[in-house]
Symmetry: D2
């Protein structure tokens, strides 16, 4: 089972749209997957699920179970202020160490409205995942100018969709 | 005015203790400063202060005003999972762009219970601050083994306290 | 005096062309500068100027003197394999520690034929300069698609030239 | 076949000693390996093997063949000025793109005389290898205080040797 993590809690985010698209890409390859939608995180999870409250928030615990049930993960990561969204990292910080991410095989997709395609965000997040003992596929996909590139949940440029297919195949073989 | 940001919302954190210590270091140099304590963030700020709710949370707005009132900032950054805490980044993500951090002069202190002293966290956060247009002092302080190094709010090793003094002086001259 | 370091030893590089252009930008602001052209490095400098041979290569020593004579430095950094050129780093490795870069004020320009504008290269090199105690201006300039953007030593897009002017002004005020 | 790359051209380096030690670790697991010793690089390789001279230096070409003959690679990376050695990167820059590193499975060992264990160097080099399409094992080994930790080619602390064994096993299973 592959989990696809939409890396922001922003409602109706492009990350969520791209996650749904990635799910269809996997479906075409007969690979079951599930969305892990951070916009459904408890609004107070940075208090109620972290530190001394670790393990006490039932909704957050469902997220933990969802991650545990997957052996591979795709992260759709929008660029926020030159790195990954704080909420995505706070989500990861809510897991115990040695964490549920250990030994997972992961693939990263970066998106940005600007021209960087979240390059630094993906580099930083690779450091985080390596720290946690997850394997990170070297084939990273970066989409720049996502406001134009993604319209009504579809990637306008067929080459862009092809990038997702190639990454998905590499992840399946990883 | 220098703001000292305790980079986690964990209650009674070592970051907060070190922030108080840094404040005393500045006081000895007759430099006024104020604590910016992320443990006082509204528990739902990742929903109530970000995205379409930007500017609508009165408590978060006070944090914004606090940052704006400072021309220099010190960040005390604990290492969480090989990077900075997600909550610290979510805090930064709650500011408008071009953000209130622009042109601020900043100094970074990293702390870790392990042996890295948050080296990667400081590198990642430098990328974030540079993206925001803040200047980052090259003199970074890293404390490893903080559980032992910091006892009852004091740094046991006089050399460690000296590191803070030297950085504070560099920040005042920056 | 500002030194402009063309960050590759590739003959007739775009980095060198851009360095010459940067020099004219500084000239318009009545700021004296000099080119530090790595294509003039001794071909065996990675052996004859490093390690036990430190300080023994007269041509490399002239480079060291050139860097020492400048209080500010501009680095033009082409993206090579997702980072800065090895030769640029080997050049820096040829200096003693605590190095001649300490306390210099520096500005970074990244160039790439692809779409990244050497973003990762600039992040990595910031880590290097901070390690050496140099200050790094947060205003970094990144040029993507440099093969088209730079023609016969000129930046075709007036906005691109404007980026250099703005950075140069920030460096002069730094 | 596993290639072990001693990541500096410094003669009699600790990286080379550690490479020999790693080779014995692999030997105990009946895994053939070969040393790729950068101290044997042609002294002028940054001129005679790069750019327009690509492919023209017979000694450098032997290095390329050596890398090509391995399906997995171990990099022993000493920390130089807060990153990897320039010479290691210049070595990589001497390969054509899409390079001979593509799809190789790699493991990283960082060493430093200070307390960082080359953490930033390994992060930077991960970016380089990912750019080249090589897979990088998340299990990275970092040795701090290498001057004391490594004596006459042996790791004094048995736990340190154990780290190499565990990484080697992970690489064999990768």
């Amino acid at each position: 089972m592959i989990g696809i993590i939409a890396g922001t809690n922003r409602p109706q985010s492009r990350s969520l749209q791209l996650s749904a698209l990635y799910q269809r890409v996997l479906q075409e390859k007969n690979q079951p997957s599930q969305l892990i939608d951070l916009s459904r995180l408890p609004s107070d999870f940075t208090v109620s699920a972290l530190y001394t409250n670790n393990g006490k928030n039932p909704v957050f615990n469902e997220f933990i179970q969802q991650v545990r049930s997957c052996d591979k993960l795709v992260f759709i990561i929008p660029e926020y202020n030159g790195s990954f969204p704080g909420v995505l990292k706070a989500f990861v910080d809510g897991f115990d160490y040695p964490s549920s991410f250990k030994n997972k095989k992961t693939a990263l997709v970066g998106i940005s409205s600007g021209d960087l395609g979240a390059a630094l965000a993906l580099s930083h997040f690779t450091d985080v995942l390596h720290y946690l003992g997850a394997q990170v596929l070297s084939q990273k996909v970066r989409f720049q100018g996502i406001d134009k590139a993604l319209q009504e949940g579809q990637l306008l440029n067929p080459k862009h969709l092809e990038y997702l297919h190639r990454q998905a195949e590499a992840l399946l073989a990883y």
